[in-house]
């Protein structure tokens, strides 16, 4: 298990992505899965950066765990900002025209569709969001 605790800012999305990618590369993660995970980091860490402590800046922890058989990676995002369950939101209507469409909820929807598992809990003052992706 490896863990990174860092200021939750948009500028740090890249640092988090590089940190996770290093672990993925050590696992020979398929390119597509890595891209899907990178997108998930952009959405999830981006959400924390934008909303968890706004307008203050707080810390967030990103934990990477490897699970065997089937080989998968579990990434956990932890912050102690305002309680927010991104999974509580209804999925966006993806059949609307350009004019009718808003963009709300699309990020988390993409993460739900591309990951194998996603779970949220609020515990001891922490938002804990966990995603799991099978690598083979």
């Amino acid at each position: 298990m490896k863990e990174l605790t860092i200021a939750a800012t948009v500028e740090n999305i890249e640092t988090v992505t590089n940190f996770v990618n290093e672990q993925l590369e050590a696992l020979d993660c398929p390119m597509k899965a890595q891209m899907q995970i990178d997108i998930a980091i952009d959405e999830l860490f981006g959400n924390i950066a934008h909303y968890a402590y706004n307008p203050e800046i707080g810390q967030a922890t990103v934990r990477v765990e490897v699970v065997e058989e089937p080989l998968s990676v579990v990434i956990t995002f932890i912050d102690n900002g305002v309680p927010y369950d991104p999974l509580a939101k209804a999925d966006p209507d993806t059949t609307l025209s350009a004019e009718e469409r808003g963009i709300g909820g699309l990020g988390i929807y993409m993460v739900k569709k591309s990951m194998d598992e996603i779970a949220y809990e609020y515990k001891d003052g922490h938002n804990i969001l966990k995603i799991k992706k099978n690598l083979n």
């Binding site: 059949t95 963009i103 990020g107 929807y109 993409m110 569709k113």
Partner: protein
């Protein structure tokens, strides 16, 4: 992300290279804001776009809405990963992909 643009009369060609995400999407948004006036055909070349997140989709949707009013927008050279994102999000139905 790098943006290469080429304005030819009323046709604007924009090539997006790299990642279109939370960090870089504002850059593309600014390009559109500054250059889209009077454009009748907007061509986005995604040949070297690695991936995009919802922040990128938001900018693409905004450009599509503007171009629906003043002309057309075409996206070309969409790779499999990007195409899958367009499919999952239903963007495939509102964009013109060549």
């Amino acid at each position: 992300m790098t943006i290469e643009k080429n304005l030819n009369g009323a046709e604007l060609n924009v090539k997006v290279i790299g990642r279109l995400d939370t960090t870089t999407a504002p850059q593309l948004e600014a390009e559109f804001k500054g250059n889209i006036n009077g454009v009748e055909k907007l061509v986005l070349d995604f040949a070297e776009l690695e991936y995009l997140s919802s922040a990128g989709l938001r900018v693409i949707l905004a450009a599509q809405k503007v171009m629906n009013k003043q002309g057309e927008m075409i996206i070309k050279n969409v790779n499999d990963t990007i195409n899958e994102i367009f499919e999952v999000t239903g963007f495939i139905d509102i964009l013109t992909i060549e």
